[in-house]
């Protein structure tokens, strides 16, 4: 159990320390160290939980099962590699004067605070604290999005703040509605917000109230997932913020919002005994998939283009969780893992590419593979992986999802495939000239650390070729937890 506290507190302590360190180089090293320690503890924690069904810690305040402990490890892992990537990246930004030392300090401190919010959100057993931690993670990233202080960055951060603040307010309203009905069953206290107790007593909760609550929660947390039509903040925040922030927003924060949504779906399913929640999620997922895939074609900025791809993949997961069969849930969990790995890897590559070419405009980025083969190949491989080419993990999860769709709703397989194809075409349409083509004169050399990228893609490849037995058991366990919610 001590592993649990250590996992949770390391980023918090690191964040406080980093707020006091003025030397940017030292701070960057400490940032990496903090994240490495967090990841080590999270692994130890994962293996503690692995043997058991679930663990309750500290008087039921925290709850760990197969579903969230795997997300904790994933968050800590991507958090760690992002700090390794961010070390040379932010150093370069400092050298070219886009940020000053004070903002670097803010950046490091907020980064760890964000990690703390994420881990708290994943592990808490209280749906009120879940809300608070998601808000905390949002607030920490708002300041990160506006880090460059350009007009566009400030406008993007404002949009992010207002839209997500609104969304999260609606989610709080949904949480209050859940509390409204659960306090009649479980008494007026913390028990009525404790997820594991709510889940055990789901059938006693008033279905009418839970139905209304889910609508608010869906729109609320759906805003943070980036589902259409609440997605307007996402491309701006990803496009204007520093690249390490885009990587963790895409790879991690969206996951937490979806995680929260699925937790509530499990409660609502248990209460209403209908597929209402699932159908709503499928609807949002399908529309978001199609809109994001088509919007992708109209982009000019490389980070905005990949953020639309993030919307597309979050939509796929939402759709898969909505389907609600064990196979679909398995596919969604696998997809969550590989998407986090591949997408953050792509953002790392894109960050370096944008620094080399001095721009994020896709029409000005050319000939990466000639200028710096590592980056060119990285972008090419990453795009192939995220577009769903075999043998990468994304292909595996998308194939499983496709199979699950054909099993339960065959007629939805057609729009699903269409969305995937349009998205894939969009990616390659832009990436191909960026990788090949003539490298521009002004391209410069920057310090590059491609190791995190290759590690991420390597893991995604491994998950596509052969999922290790323990991981697959884990997914099965988590999938049956999620699906078995109502039964």
């Amino acid at each position: 159990m001590n592993f649990f506290l250590a996992t949770l507190l390391t980023p918090l302590i690191g964040g406080v320390l980093l707020a006091m360190i003025r030397n940017p180089k030292l701070a960057a090293k400490l940032n990496v160290l903090t994240s490495c320690v967090t990841f080590t503890f999270s692994l130890l924690l994962a293996f503690t939980v692995l043997g058991k069904d679930s663990i309750h810690a500290m008087n039921d305040w925290f709850y760990l099962d197969a579903y969230n402990v795997f997300l904790v490890s994933l968050t800590a892992f991507v958090g760690m590699t992002t700090t390794i990537f961010s070390k040379p990246y932010m150093q370069h930004e400092l050298e070219i004067g886009r940020v000053n030392e004070r903002r670097i300090r803010l950046y490091h401190s907020m980064y760890q605070l964000f990690q703390f919010g994420m881990l708290l959100g994943f592990t808490t057993n209280n749906i009120g604290v879940l809300w608070v931690s998601l808000e905390l993670a949002t607030l920490a990233t708002v300041l990160l999005v506006s880090l460059y202080r350009t007009p566009a960055a400030i406008a993007a951060a404002w949009k992010y703040f207002i839209l997500c603040g609104m969304g999260i307010a609606l989610a709080l309203f949904g949480t209050i509605l859940v509390f409204f009905t659960s306090s009649m069953v479980l008494g007026h206290g913390n028990e009525a917000l404790t997820w594991s107790l709510l889940h055990a007593n789901a059938s006693d909760l008033d279905p009418a109230v839970m139905g209304i609550a889910f609508c608010f929660l869906m729109v609320g947390y759906g805003t943070k997932v980036g589902l259409v039509p609440m997605h307007a903040w996402l491309p701006d925040a990803h496009g204007e913020g520093p690249t390490p922030v885009s990587a963790v927003l895409s790879g991690l924060l969206l996951n937490l919002a979806l995680y929260a949504l699925v937790r509530f779906k499990m409660l609502v399913d248990g209460s209403t005994n209908t597929d209402m929640a699932g159908h709503i999620m499928m609807g949002f997922g399908m529309i978001s998939l199609l809109v994001a895939a088509m919007s992708l074609h109209k982009q000019t900025d490389i980070k905005r283009m990949f953020s639309f791809s993030s919307i597309e993949h979050m939509a796929l997961m939402t759709f898969a969780f909505g389907l609600g069969t064990p196979l679909a849930a398995f596919a969604a969990l696998l997809h969550m893992t590989v998407h986090s790995l591949v997408k953050s890897g792509i953002f790392f590559t894109v960050g370096h590419a944008a620094q080399m070419m001095g721009t994020q405009k896709m029409s000005d980025i050319r000939g990466l593979i000639y200028h710096y083969p590592g980056i060119g190949w990285g972008l090419l491989i990453g795009t192939a992986a995220i577009a769903g080419f075999p043998p990468f993990g994304v292909f595996m999860s998308e194939f499983l999802l496709f199979t699950a769709t054909i099993e339960s709703y065959p007629w939805l397989a057609a729009p699903l495939l269409l969305g995937l194809l349009i998205g894939m075409a969009g990616l390659f349409r832009f990436v191909q000239p960026m990788v090949y083509g003539e490298p521009p004169e002004h391209a410069k050399d920057v310090r590059v650390n491609m190791i995190p990228v290759y590690v991420h893609f390597g893991l995604a490849l491994l998950l596509g070729l052969a999922i290790p037995a323990f991981l697959s058991d884990w997914y099965h366990q988590a999938a049956s937890l999620i699906v078995g919610g109502g039964a």
Partner: protein
Amino acid sequence: MSSMMAQQIIDGLAALTLLISFALLAQHRMLSVLHWFAAQGLLLAITAAVVAYSSGEHELYISAIMTLLLKGLLLPWMLWRVIRELHVHREVEPLLNSGVTMVIAVAVTLFSFHVIQPIQVTADLVTHNSMAIATACVLLSMLMMITRKKAITQVIGFLAVENSLFFAAIGATNGMPLVVEIGIAFDVLIAALIFGLFFFQIRDTFDSMEIDTMNASLVHKDDDE
């Protein structure tokens, strides 16, 4: 205090809260908006105290005091300081066709009562109407955010949404557990601080507090919509 009387007082307070939401929507002077916002905070604190007294939930007194300090005094004072520093306190914000806005607001209120209908049947708490009124207030504050073009009034709309949510929590459920309540208050405070920071960044960068000016800087990239 008998439960009947408590019920009537709470219903009265709920009606006043709804009225303030309408007032916020109709004001066009920056300072009047702020005054109504402060009044809403005070009203919330009173409601929390009344519910605490009638239900015997002593934790709610703490919530009431926190609300009074944070939403009744601190936030309005901070906003007032910001407005003065930015020299916008005399500013008049043109409303987009206030007649139409009011009609929409009435429709939104009716809609809220309709949505909450199935819940009221099952509710056995003292406050039947407050859930519907809280929903209406949330939606009205959102309407305020949509119709306003200035960053500061937008933030007041945002904080008014938080107020309405707090009203929902105390009116319909006798308050959330204290730990969650404190967490939410903490988040609101941090959010308000960040908003304050943003106001100055926006002014320094854009020379204006108009949302449209800000969004214009994103428009050249906004080919997706």
